[in-house]
Amino acid sequence: MVFLRGQNDVSRENAEVEEDMADLKLLHDAVLNGKRKDAEALTQKALDEGAEAIAILEKALIPAMNTVGERFKAGEYFVPEMLVAAKAMKTCMEMLRSRLKAKDYKPLGRVVIGTVRGDLHDIGKNLVKMMLEGAGFEVVDLGVDVSPEKFVEAARQNQAQVVAMSALLTTTMLAMPDTVKALESAGMRKDVKVIVGGAAATDAFAKEIKADGYGADAYSAVELAKSLIGKK
């Protein structure tokens, strides 16, 4: 059977597509500007109107967080702006999670992240986590005061491609080489990329402890993770 569609149907479809794209643009802007409640409402509206979770993620959320990263790099956005944008995105992600899972959506990669043993600072680590999620990574957050053994176990259990470690204190960053060694002992070093960050760490330090890279800030961390797992 062939259904002939009339002119009205086609233009209504075009209008609907335009409206959908306009809604996604509004959602994109809401996340970019950290308007959590607006973002939540717009995500719900899009879902109610039949938009695919993957489309919402890839056309609105990820591009918004990418722009957040660029603005941070350009000095326009700072910690507060990144945090509110990331919170808005997180709210939307929660709403999409089960649908993404149902569609067997594959994240860009899987990252295990934590602040090292003896250190409690986590604002930077949380920002990196949010930016990684905003880029399409799945992130397992181990929290703070994470021992080398816990990093190894979590990387194994989650089949993570990246282990990301943060330390703020010159005294606690010494736990980072311990984690690299623990991965080696577990025979897992070749299977993961190790990246480090936090005010105490440097590029030279990362090389010294045989990590795969150092991220100076949340935006660089995302770029680093992407390049290390071979994604642009």
Binding site: G75, F78, P80, G118, T170
Partner: protein, 500 residues
Amino acid sequence: MSRMVTVHLKPLGSAVELPAGAPLADALVVFGVEFPCGGRGRCRGCRVRVIEGSLAPTDADRARLSAAELAEGWRLVCQARPETDLVLELRQWSGLVLADETAFPFDPVEGLGVAVDIGTTTVVAQLLDLTNGRILGTEATINPQARFGADVMSRISMGTTPGGRARLTSVIREAVTGMIGRLVHGAPAGEPVRRAAIVGNTAMHHLFLGFDVAPLASYPFRTPKLGTERFRGAEVGWKGAAAEASACFLPNLGGFVGSDILGVILATRIHESPSFVGSADLGTNGEIVFGGAAGIVVASTAAGPAFEGARISQGMRAAPGAIDRVTCEDGRLSAHVIGGAEPQGLCGSGLVDAVACGLSMGAIAPSGRMAAGDMAVAGPVSLRQSDVRELQLAKGAIAAGIQILMKQSGKGAGDVGTFFLAGAFGNSLDVANARRIGLLPFPMETVKPVGNAALLGAKLGLFAPEGGGPLFDSVVSKVRHVSLEQDPEFQDLFAELMAF
């Protein structure tokens, strides 16, 4: 015998001799050269100009100094190992360290006494006549541990290495012994120093006394060594008239909050206050106190380094050449420079003023964004976007610490009767500008600078009956140390309060 080189310092007129190829930093720290990054070649704080002779630039020199600066002879002292004689341009660090001359009631005792405030950045000591309370002399010096790191954590890090702790302990003891020796030299001959009272934050306390600093290196930052320590002067190297002094290092309050803050509490009498009051010592470690006779809460924010210039592009301590005051009128900035010399950089109070001016002129948005780029302040000194961000991090942490401690006391900014600002930075800070940038939420008339209250507290400890034990115990028992990073609200508040 190794070949020696001589390094002349002008206009100072001094000279130092050291073996060729030896680190120049060790010889120059006493002249006031700053090492904010601890001599790791990661900042520009230790730069000096070679005016005669040559010193080959190192990789770190090339990374931190511009081509023009290198050509003019600027080099990083921390990297310098002179092989030939040199003449360096170096002005004298002048003692812009805050002492204390506050009169206080006391019960006279026989003999002389010494009070010492071992600050992370500066050390001050006073000799007192215990029979009449008169100050017979004051000595001040840069904490020689600064050579190894401006902040407490980098010193603790060194303190956990073999030999590192011993070195840190010996340099600070040498400095204090030297100061006391000079004080006694100027005192009535033959008079013994009977007592000494010392205050300092927990890290300074541990390093002076030679205690293991490993507990302070990581969470939960809990050391067993919080109590009062009593010893004879000779045990820490004091000689002559001070060798037999009964010395006491006052007790710490918890975490990194040490006896210096106990000193602040004693001096401001927070522990006796019927109303709710507070204080902040915005030096290197940013300690905050709130409470009264009913109970006291304390915390440290470690936000100080930004105010002391370590991560500010042209930051410096309050010393000749530092801009310590900036005002604006009709869109034009005027800067006051310490010592009236050419402006070289911004110290804490100058930074706060510059940002306040930038905000009112629209050069800095409430978010902290500088849309039009660097803001010229005076001469070669400008305020950069990264400087504003560093300040936002520091003031966000302190502002959040203030809010959380007040909240934990069940109070708000309107409940605070008086807010004492202790320390040199507190003394020079313009309160209106501190309010403008969101550092302090209190009305102007509430805020009172109290100078070196820690040193005054040490002096009160010197005269306290029964060696101070009952007094110290009574205060310590009222104090609860709060770990800010464990408060679930800290993170959000910190981020929120970064904005102006």
